[in-house]
């Protein structure tokens, strides 16, 4: 993390309950483990990664402003405060790698898809890619990685929402998802199973990709 090209600040919404002793514990099962991991990254980043943990009960107005109704929620916001990536998940196991890759790309590391996204940006409407995952799914990290890189290359036109549907079962049920990865682009019929970057870009544009080689 010390190699980040620029400083990164992530907002992580959790919720805590106060114990009779006055100490606070996190309510969501996965938050503690994931926050410990984030703190390790933060401590080893030479100040390049800043994790801002926000308890939704401490500031309901703030939670409302960022439309937070679930914990944990992790937000990647651009310099203008515009949301690019939202995690309704605590990345663990195979999901850690794409999460770290996203942090580096967010800080300006090379993004393989950027040139093509920019060439086609006029054909992409403001879009949301929802990727439903579980932490056990072997294909999910690749779809998450691509979707997040698309969001970072999309100059505000593409937003990604990563949803752990074991932790957010109501969302999985809402979309009739009984398998992962399960990708919903602009609320159109889902793409089930492994989906490649070309298929995601075609779905975003509703047509073939134009590439100037």
């Amino acid at each position: 993390m010390a190699k980040l090209k620029k400083a990164v600040k992530l907002k992580v919404f959790t919720c805590k309950t106060r114990q009779p002793t006055g100490s606070q514990i996190r309510e969501c099962m996965d938050c503690g483990q994931f926050m410990s991991l984030l703190r390790v990254y933060e401590e080893n980043s030479n100040g390049m990664l800043k994790i801002e943990e926000l308890c939704i009960d401490d500031d309901l107005e703030l939670a409302k402003r960022y439309d937070i109704s679930r914990v944990p929620t992790i937000l990647f916001l651009d310099d203008n405060g515009r949301e690019m990536i939202r995690y309704l998940a605590s990345p663990q196991a195979g999901e850690i790698q794409p999460f770290i890759q996203t942090v580096f790309a967010f800080a300006g590391a090379g993004n393989y898809y950027e040139a093509t996204i920019k060439q086609n940006i006029d054909r992409i409407p403001p879009s949301t890619i929802k990727v439903m995952i579980t932490n056990m799914c072997p294909y999910c990290p690749q779809v998450v990685s691509v979707a997040n890189l698309f969001a970072l290359a999309g100059n505000g036109k593409i937003r990604t929402v990563i949803v752990d549907i074991m932790a957010n079962q109501d969302i999985g049920q809402y979309y009739d998802a009984a398998g992962v990865p399960y990708t919903v682009i602009n609320e159109k019929p889902a793409i089930s199973g492994m989906v490649g970057p070309n298929e995601i870009l075609k779905a975003l544009m509703g047509g073939n990709i134009r590439v100037q080689y």
Binding site: A93, G94, Q97, Q101, A105, A109, G110, N111, Y112, Y113, E114, A115, T116, T134, M136, C137, P138, Y139, C140, P141, Q142, S145, V146, L149, M166, D176, A177, A178, G179, V180, P181, Y182, A190, S192, G193, M194, G196, P197, N198, L201, I209, V211, Y213
Partner: protein
């Protein structure tokens, strides 16, 4: 993942993301070749394997953990990997040009290690209920079927392993197979027979999948409707050799790439290995072996370009 110069000529580009491609890449990197790996699925089909127990030196490891070990090994050698797919390969004077959906690459040599793609049944309901009860990956979707009834379609070793994994989650697992005896490795066949909540229905095909939002039943070829909550399709795979057809790489009748003992194809500078090639027995370890040989053959071939390594 990084920005890549489309005019750079690489020594060796490896197409694929499974053990074959990774084994090939590791050896090529250690030979000092300037390499790039382009794959659709990191880890390939083995990523979806519940447990790998037949790779020497590793008694037992899950497919996902095995892929993480591959990734660590690749990262330790700083081997670049990008997720993209090849649209076309062209031959230039002393190199090849690869066109992907996102960029163009030039390379002196290529290893095709694109593996295979899962076969589909091609029956009504299969596409309609994909992700909503129809699955091709028990590791991905098994946990959604806790205490439910599922069917595994197929009689191969992979089908047996899928059934064994699902038996840990589902209340009941039916293996539905058209043959008279499942073709699993003896060790897995024994495990299937000894697992109380797995039952095999022989000499049966399914003709359609029915449901209402999600899968509710399958229809057998005798017309009987059989209630299940999920259908896991494991009926083998086809070689992913489509990308080489225009450049003239020779295929056999099964559309596998024909290679020799040096993993050479009929086109100098193009090698193939693993499930996409014409070996009779396809395993991760045999694919790795062919991939490693391809790396050495490419290294040997590149000597004619007087590149210093």
């Amino acid at each position: 993942m990084t920005d890549l110069d489309p005019d750079k000529i690489w020594d060796f580009i490896i197409l694929g993301g499974g053990p074959t491609a990774i084994g090939c890449a590791i050896y090529a990197a250690r030979f000092g070749l300037d390499i790039l790996v382009i794959g659709k699925t990191y880890g390939g089909l083995i990523a979806t394997t519940h447990i790998v127990e037949n790779y020497p030196g590793i008694t037992s490891v899950s497919g996902t953990e095995f892929v993480e070990m591959f990734r660590d090994h690749m990262d330790s050698l700083s081997i670049p990997y990008i997720s993209d797919e090849i649209k076309n390969i062209e031959k230039a004077k002393d190199h090849f040009i690869l066109y992907t959906f996102f960029q163009r690459f030039k390379t002196r040599t290529i290893c095709i290690a694109t593996g295979s793609e899962r076969r589909k049944l091609g029956i009504p309901g299969e596409e309609e209920f994909a992700g909503r009860g129809v699955s091709y990956c028990a590791t991905c979707d098994g946990p959604f079927y806790k205490d439910k009834v599922v069917a595994v379609i197929g009689g191969s070793d992979s089908a047996a392993k899928e059934a064994l994994f699902l038996s840990q989650h589902a209340k009941k697992v039916y293996i539905i197979y058209r043959g008279e005896e499942i073709r699993a490795e003896p060790i897995n066949k024994k495990r299937v027979y000894e697992t109380d909540n797995i039952e095999i229905i022989y000499k049966t095909n399914i003709t359609s999948i029915k449901g209402d939002g999600n899968v509710k039943s399958v229809i057998f070829d005798n017309g009987h409707e059989f209630k299940v909550d999920g259908v896991f399709i494991e009926i083998g795979s086809n070689p992913a050799s489509e990308i080489v057809k225009d450049i003239g790489v020779k295929l056999n009748q099964k559309k596998e790439i024909i290679i020799n003992r040096k993993s050479e194809t009929n086109i100098p500078g193009i090698y193939a290995a693993g499930d996409v090639a014409d070996a009779p027995f396809k395993q991760a370890i045999t694919g790795v072996s062919e991939g490693v040989i391809a790396a050495y053959s490419a290294f040997d071939y590149l000597k004619k370009f007087n590149i210093e390594y």
